[in-house]
Amino acid sequence: MVFAKTELDMLKKLQILSDAAKYDVACTSSGINRKGRGATIGNTLACGICHAFSSDGRCISLLKILFTNECIFDCKYCINRRSNDVERASFTPREVAELTIDFYKRNYIEGLFLSSGILKSPDYTMEQLCETLFILRNEYHFNGYIHVKAIPGADPLLIQRTGFLADRMSVNLELPTAEGLSRLAPNKNRRLILKPMRQIQLGTEENAYRLGGSRRQLPVAASKDLPAMKQEEKLFVPAGQSSQMIIGATPENDYQILKVAESLYQKFSLKRVFYSAFVNTTMDSALPVLESGPPLLREHRLYQADWLLRFYGFQASELLSEKQPNFNVFLDPKCNWALGHLEKFPVEVNQADYYTLLRVPGIGVNSARRIVMARKTAVLDFADIKKMGVVLKRALYFITCGGKMLYPVKIEEDYILNHMLDNKEKLPPGVGGAGAYRQLNLFDDFKFDVNFAENNACGLRG
């Protein structure tokens, strides 16, 4: 007798459901320090740990899987849309928990990143996710990192319960504007996405009171080193929430996207916003066809700008404007800003304050901090700051040490541009060097080809 094979074996299932989850970018394990504890397995580190790197160069930190790809929604950009013909599979909560523990014990992963298609209804799906986390935390005593999606439209009580089991939660904004969303994802709407986001935000703000004792007055962000999770001291989404947007599926410009990200940081206190270069998997007629592949350079520039928003004290309106709504292909956002504000340069390394230093191209958060520290006791020279991590080939146009510049350079936009592009970052073939700024002529044949594989740094890490 021959039975139809109904049960997929684990390997097949894992392949289907990790393949389905790979377009989700938020694979970070950062944001919370939690020590290991007697009867549990695992701990977490605030810096996050990368455990492997996939063939596309992105970090693998968590076991990133969908709970199911049997989705009832029909979002046009999504490979798992109802009308798409792909293999379908679902895990059971116990399978996910067991796999997580087995992988964790071998140090393959930092924890679990559980996302899901909508199975039956948002409530049912959320319940399954919650159940998985409950088993993992309470039966397998897993004390490592868990990132879980909040399903828009699910009961707030379910999200609340899940939040106390997870470290980080995220709700995907999917597309930067509400119009884009209603056009490409007919089953989703902006209001339903923002609601759980707000709920999570309010929940994490209450953590300050849950901690009790001496920490009561402190804002959550200040209580860095948390003790191991005790039953009575459970925190709600202690590592904060994140979100992601798909870039390039809808016609929004960089300025709009960055504005949205900025308001998410300010109004919803998100920890991270992720940008995911659109990969056309469904070939729907409503979607753009990207001949040169996913817009990786654009994604890269957005990540660079995102860093400037979060760590460098920049505002979206400083980097871009209505008049100039897209990032420069050739220059990173900070260089671009500096070239537009040459009146503020050069700055004296030995005197400029921390935030002024941060705005110098070639000086990052670490090197700025080191400079501020080291100049208390010594007058710094170019050789010193180079050792501290300053990228001189970029910074040299914008700084002086002891009143002198490294080379006699002109502080002039074209001059600096030409020099930077001559010996600067690896540009992709086709958008090379000085060509960018040479005069256009009638027979110009160079293409602005933005197929950019090389310059896509690991913007996906915590």
Partner: protein, 261 residues
Amino acid sequence: MTYVYLCEGTVDGIFTGIYDAWSSRLGHKNIRIEVEEEFYGAELFCEYRKVETDREKAEKVAASIEKKIGYEAYKMVYRSALSGKQGRADDIYRFLILGFAIGGCVLERLSHPYVRAVFERNRNVIKELQHYQGFLRFSELANGILFSEIRPANDLLPLLGEHFTDRFSGENWIIYEVGRKRAALHKKGVPFILMEISQKEELLEKLGIWDFSEREEELQKLWQGFVDSIGIKERKNEKQQKQMLPLRYREFMREYNSSGF
């Protein structure tokens, strides 16, 4: 005349060397501290003195670093002592001369060559430690012990032992460092110990175990399947992969070199 103190390569050894050198009152500029394994032959016009590692002296040095310069500096010095690059003992000695003279603010003087040397060692050790915290792979032996091999440039075993003791306090695990021929052994619920072991086979023989557990191969296949399917082929970028995960880390990562058992 230069006096060279030859000490053992352990943290205790280096600290003892520093203690002896300091208390010899020969003048700091006439003294050099070297680690035995870095000693390739005597130089002219040098007097060599062998340092007997003495736990008590080492503890005294450790305590006074903590007291006079601070815990942060102690951690930095400790990690520098695990550094794999040549000349660590002397770098630490120079740093401490300055540190004991000016106290905690020595950490701020990043442009000073003595401070920079220790700072860079410290940074290098931390970097590699973070990599190994992620890239180390355990395989389960037939009796449930988790076994792992590494070959780091710096002497990371004590630091990794600490990390995994916190993480897997309820497991039995072994990390064997192939290069330095040492192992960190951890038994459920007790602190880990370090042990000199000349060969992996010797270790396995002592345990009486040769095979991996039944589930091990299956799980490695599952993991391999996961790693393969999680990459987006439209974004393939092996150069970046190599940059983020250099080949030297992949020696014992089976998902990248499926040489099998």
